[in-house]
């Protein structure tokens, strides 16, 4: 399988980064520097250009440097297809994105061509946090793997927000509300179908990943629990049936926006059972499963971005992870404050991050 490789990265005005230009190695890359200097920002710039979403949940305007007019990111990506050029420019009121100089026509084409998998300290919430983060994991994979998914997700969100606005009116107009049931059920059932198929594929990928992080694959179970049907007709009927309840709560209860990917450990919710260390390992396994599924679905190995792993994993687990990463053949970017951690990734290219600027590392 061909790995995706970022061959060039330029960033300016993104958080505290100024005039950053990097020529990464196709294998390992270590971003070394003290806290608060911009290491995470570099990973975020890469992933934002690739996924158009902040993995920390930041809004667009929060990403623009305080002193900057706009945030700009350029990514050159090589892979199984001819090299691609991603350009992103975030202004305070605008967002311009181009793929090879043109506005991308289809979401899947954009997202699949620069698939990244991020593992960062906030990922503990994949196990412990609200369902939204786990839905986002599914959606992140699907916008890259399924043609039309990104568009359906966007349309579903629009229909949902419109319907909720109507439900909140002082005198709700049921005819208008039900008019939005059609697009809601059409796109919503499509999302449920795609997620169900993915959840099915995710099981063997997660088993492999759990094994890789030394957790027992037999004890842990992943299950996607759609509350609305993948059948458009059934979905529509359920919306009609729920209308009085929706009117009472003034929002739409049912649909893929409310689903969860349940993680159980020996039959109990993992968030209750898993220790801190196990929770970390489990979160990492979910990210590795993301990578395996993407690799199988897009026929390219995604780029791996590991933020501050040494704060998340002990030395032994970190060493094991780096070995695994080398075996996967993925291009990887690792951030750390600790030169000793950098040494665990043999042959990696080093960069030092100081006050928003990047220089060559020593050694």
């Amino acid at each position: 399988m061909t790995p995706l490789r970022i061959t060039e990265l330029s960033v300016d005005g993104f958080r505290n980064l100024r005039d950053v230009k990097l020529l990464p190695s196709p294998g390992g890359n270590v971003l070394l520097g003290d806290n608060g200097h911009g290491k995470t920002s570099i990973l975020e710039a890469i992933d934002y250009a690739a996924s158009l979403r902040s993995f920390r949940g930041a809004t667009r305007t929060q990403l623009i440097g305080h002193e900057a007019k706009a945030a700009q990111v350029l990514l050159r990506v090589a892979g199984p297809d001819p090299a691609r050029e991603y350009r992103l420019r975030l202004g305070r009121t605008t967002r311009e994105i181009t793929l090879d100089g043109k506005r991308p026509e289809r979401a899947v084409e954009y997202f699949a061509g620069a698939a990244c998998v991020v593992f960062h300290p906030g990922d503990l919430d994949l196990v412990r946090g609200p369902p939204e983060l786990r839905r986002r994991l599914l959606d992140r994979i699907l916008v890259r793997a399924v043609d039309g998914y990104g568009e359906a997700l966007k349309s579903y969100g629009k229909a949902l927000r419109a319907r909720n606005v109507l439900l909140r009116e002082r005198h709700p107009d049921t005819r208008a509300i039900q008019a939005f049931d059609f697009p809601l059920a059409r796109y919503g059932s499509a999302l449920v179908r795609a997620r169900s198929v993915l959840a099915h594929d995710l099981v063997p990928a997660a088993r492999r990943a759990l094994d890789e992080v030394a957790l027992s694959p037999d004890a842990i179970e992943l299950r996607y629990q759609p509350r609305a049907s993948g059948d458009q007709v059934v979905f529509t009927a359920a919306l009609a049936e729920n209308l009085s309840r929706d009117l009472a709560r003034r929002s739409t209860a049912l649909g893929p926006h409310a689903d969860d990917l349940a993680i159980t450990w020996s039959g109990l919710p993992a968030r209750i059972v898993a220790s801190q260390g196990q929770t970390r390992a489990l979160a990492l396994a979910l990210r590795l499963a993301e990578l395996h599924v993407l690799e199988a679905r897009t026929r390219a190995i995604p780029v791996l971005l590991l933020d501050d792993v040494s704060s998340e994993l002990d030395r032994e687990r970190t060493a094991r992870l780096f070995k695994l990463v080398a075996a996967l053949g993925a291009q990887v970017f690792v951030t750390t404050t600790d030169p000793a951690i950098a040494a665990l990734l043999p042959g990696a290219r080093r960069f030092t991050v100081t006050d928003g600027a990047v220089g060559p590392g020593d050694g």
């Binding site: 568009e151 606005v165 109507l166 107009d173 008019a179």
Partner: protein, 199 residues
């Protein structure tokens, strides 16, 4: 930059309010006009002013016209029995280019779009219902775009007309997903018109 006294900048600012025109293309247009014959600039300015003074919405269908009623509404060969409801004037133009439609149009100029501030209270439903009753329309074709708002508008109207006992059809698929009617080629649209189904 201070554009108080700078006529170029003043024009550029006005041009960037046009759809799809950014700062760069606005400047290109401004320089082009400056480089052309001064008569052209005068004619262009005059044409824009005249258009906005003289063109209004057809009293009956909402199409842009310089008369009270547009040419289609005034054409006795076009049947009043079939009414094609579209969102924008260019959508009616697109259907017209397919040359299979003998009826008349109704241009909404908006869709049911609660997120954009057009809820059922703002949506221009009454004039359409009145027109259908007044002109004895037998069939309403809903040709709103296949977008979230377009589909919801079609459904909303279908329900309203069912209640009034009017036959409603939706333009058949063939119009690409997420696409605008405007960009649909006449053949696809012609087929869509012929293959329309009851809703």
């Amino acid at each position: 930059m201070n554009d108080e006294g700078d006529p170029i900048q003043a024009l550029v600012r006005l041009l960037t309010r046009l759809p799809g025109v950014g700062e760069k293309s606005a400047r290109r247009i401004a320089y082009h006009v400056l480089g052309a014959d001064p008569d052209y600039a005068r004619a262009l300015g005059g044409a824009i002013a005249t258009m906005s003074e003289r063109v209004r919405r057809c009293a009956s269908c909402g199409a842009y016209t310089s008369r009270v009623r547009c040419a289609i509404c005034d054409d006795p060969r076009r049947t009043a029995e079939i009414l094609c409801v579209v969102a924008r004037p260019m959508d009616a133009d697109a259907v017209e280019r397919a040359r299979v439609f003998q009826g008349r149009y109704h241009i909404l100029h908006t869709l049911l779009d609660p997120l954009g501030g057009v809820g059922p209270g703002e949506f221009p439903l009454e004039p359409l219902l009145e027109r259908v009753a007044r002109e004895g329309v037998q069939e309403v074709i809903l040709a709103t775009p296949p977008t979230v708002e377009g589909e919801a508008t079609a459904l909303y109207l279908a329900e309203c007309f069912h209640a009034a006992g009017v036959t409603v059809t939706r333009i058949a698929s063939g119009v690409p997903h997420g696409g605008d009617l405007e960009f649909t080629d006449p053949i696809t649209l012609g087929r869509a018109m012929e293959g329309r189904r009851s809703v």
